[in-house]
Symmetry: C2
Subunit: 375 residues, 2 copies
């Protein structure tokens, strides 16, 4: 269980094409996980996800704990059964969401007290509580409870690491199920020495996988790349690496080039509901008047259901009229875009031409400059 | 074109099982048409409709005229191409929607002036304009422009009939396409003499089908049934009969028992988005706390995707969390319920046991009483 087999490594970059074994199936890596925050990837059925080629779905501990409740989900057979997804699932620890509630949460070494965004009720998460919830949910991959600090404040990040590491140890202690892989989360902001210290601490815990947390939270794309470059030689070759919350297409490519195996992000589903479609190098805003009478699909080369059946003019109409079908069709296209991107990278690693593929793909995006321009 | 072949007639009731030929396929009758107000059946893809067994889809002239515009749809290849539905389509005339704008419309013998619900702009519909829009849209079945008066005011209904009939004649004159069937709409409120007069006037126009309008607008179910009983022997056997805007399951059964062939209604899709699921005899409100931990499907005997994959507990969670997937899954179930109902009735007519089927089905609903209890 939780074996990570590497089938091919790109010599130049260290990018890997592998297979991670989970109780609900094998993940071919690099893999992108659509996000099903509330036990549903918004606007898609499980059969759609399967047809699109999704293998891993992420769901959120914070949201499911509040509604419908992790014990209810446990009593109904666990999250796979509850949401009708028989493939692998990953749950986050709830930490990121809780820390995002910046106005209402209080943190100490025991854990975090926060107010529900639903009804204002008070709750307390600890590492032990996070693991217990995630065991009730029953995902294949679960995460340690960590603090996700602002990435640019050296002193705060350093202090925070002490807590994050102690919490990781408590999660390991609290864990009771052996059919779930507990991944550790490397923190350390944009500071190479702190990232290295965090990685080395967690490596000593000998976990089945390692996540890189605290990125895509305001640092520049160059800082994200530098952080990944710093961790690439430190993280073990034989464990999967998961870059949390990253899903902009160029970030996924840059992540794979730096040894990342697993990605998740709400980006493709969220921008779909705002009327935006991913194409190489840009996001088409279907609200734009230029598409009003455009008979072309979003992308003539795309083989997704949306692009093989509908015009930009029709999609614009759906978006303007706020029709659910607009959310559905753009979500399908955007998820297909990312799943196809990682599929192409798996093939490129296998074929030994990842750099060529990445160079071509990234030529449509701004270069990684070391400025602090943000993401 | 537009031939109506009757394969079987139920001797006791006159209910018919037939085939109506249209340019985009054959409609097996009785048929229920899901409503795609804005060129989309809300929450469903065309492939879903096909998989559910839908054959006829209704779309709304008023809405499509305002947005995205009937000329735009024409220029993009017509409504079938625009919305990706290759089966038969029916468009209403816009009359019902325009008359529903009771505060902002003005009617005279020429037509109706009204304000858009989108931006308050002024527009004028005439019979000629309605036909021109419907020709731009390009549906297989189009409707005459009529007035839909309050059903209980004898004097007003009688006056209104004069106008509705003159408008029907103008629609016939205005029509230029021979690949669209123009159906006439029988009005007359709840008054048998006015209904008969309206039917006889329209029969003289020798149209390829006849609709019964102005029902399900506040009269009792008994009044609806009496009106259908009155028209059953008057409307021609060899033309399809369309009961507009009716889709409560018991009303569909009562309609078929009184010779109706075609139904449409927003009910299954609208109540789905409110969290309600159709089962025989009732509507399950999935918001109810009783379903919180219910592992059963909506209906254990139902073979739809929703019932074969998801629990009431999960559906309740989706509805409470206002997830799009809740709309999708309940819409699929409710559309399946109505399509399966007419499928069963086609079979029952064919097998000669419609009365038995209807008696059993209607035993789950309140009887038709002649009180004015409303619908």
């Amino acid at each position: 269980m939780f074996e990570f087999e590497i089938d091919a490594i790109d010599e130049a970059t260290g990018a890997r094409n592998g297979r991670f074994h989970t109780p609900h199936g094998i993940l071919q890596t690099p893999v992108f996980a659509p996000v099903g925050t509330q036990a549903t990837v918004k606007a898609l059925r499980p059969s759609d996800l399967r047809d699109l080629g999704a293998t891993l779905v992420l769901s959120n501990t914070y949201h499911l704990y509040l509604r419908p409740g992790d014990e209810l989900i446990r009593d109904l057979g666990g999250l796979h059964q509850f949401m009708g997804w028989s493939g692998p699932i990953l749950t986050d620890s709830g930490g990121f969401q809780v820390f995002s509630l910046s106005d209402t949460r209080k943190i100490d070494d025991d854990g975090v007290t926060f107010q529900s965004h639903l009804d204002g009720s008070y709750h307390h998460f600890t590492p032990e509580k996070s693991v217990a919830i995630q065991e009730n949910l029953g995902a294949d991959i679960i995460m340690t409870f960590d603090e996700c600090p602002p990435p640019n404040d050296y002193d705060y990040v350093k202090q925070s690491l002490r807590r994050t590491h102690a919490w990781a140890e408590r999660c390991v202690q609290a864990k009771t199920r052996d059919d779930q892989a507990l991944f550790g989360i490397v923190q350390g902001g944009i500071f190479p020495d702190l990232r290295e210290a965090s990685a080395r601490f967690l490596l000593d815990l000998d976990l089945p996988g390692y996540a890189i947390g605290g990125l895509a939270v305001g640092e520049s794309k160059a800082e994200m790349a530098a952080t990944l470059d710093g961790l690439n030689p430190i993280l073990p070759q034989d464990k999967p690496r998961y870059l949390m919350g990253v899903g902009a297409p160029e970030d996924v490519v840059n992540g794979v080039l730096r040894g990342v195996d697993i990605f998740d992000c709400v980006l493709p589903t969220r921008i779909a509901r705002n009327g935006a479609a991913l194409v190489k190098g840009e996001r088409l805003n279907l609200r734009n008047a230029q598409f009003q009478r455009d008979p072309a699909p979003i992308d003539a080369a795309c083989i997704c259901y949306t692009c093989t059946h509908f015009s930009r003019a029709y999609l614009r109409h759906l978006v303007k009229a706020n029709e659910i079908l607009g959310h559905i069709l753009l979500t399908m296209h955007n998820i297909h875009f990312l799943l196809n991107l990682v599929r192409q990278m798996r093939q490129a690693i296998h074929d030994g031409n990842l750099e060529e593929f990445a160079r071509d793909f990234l030529s449509s995006y701004p270069p990684l400059t070391p400025s602090k321009e943000g993401t």
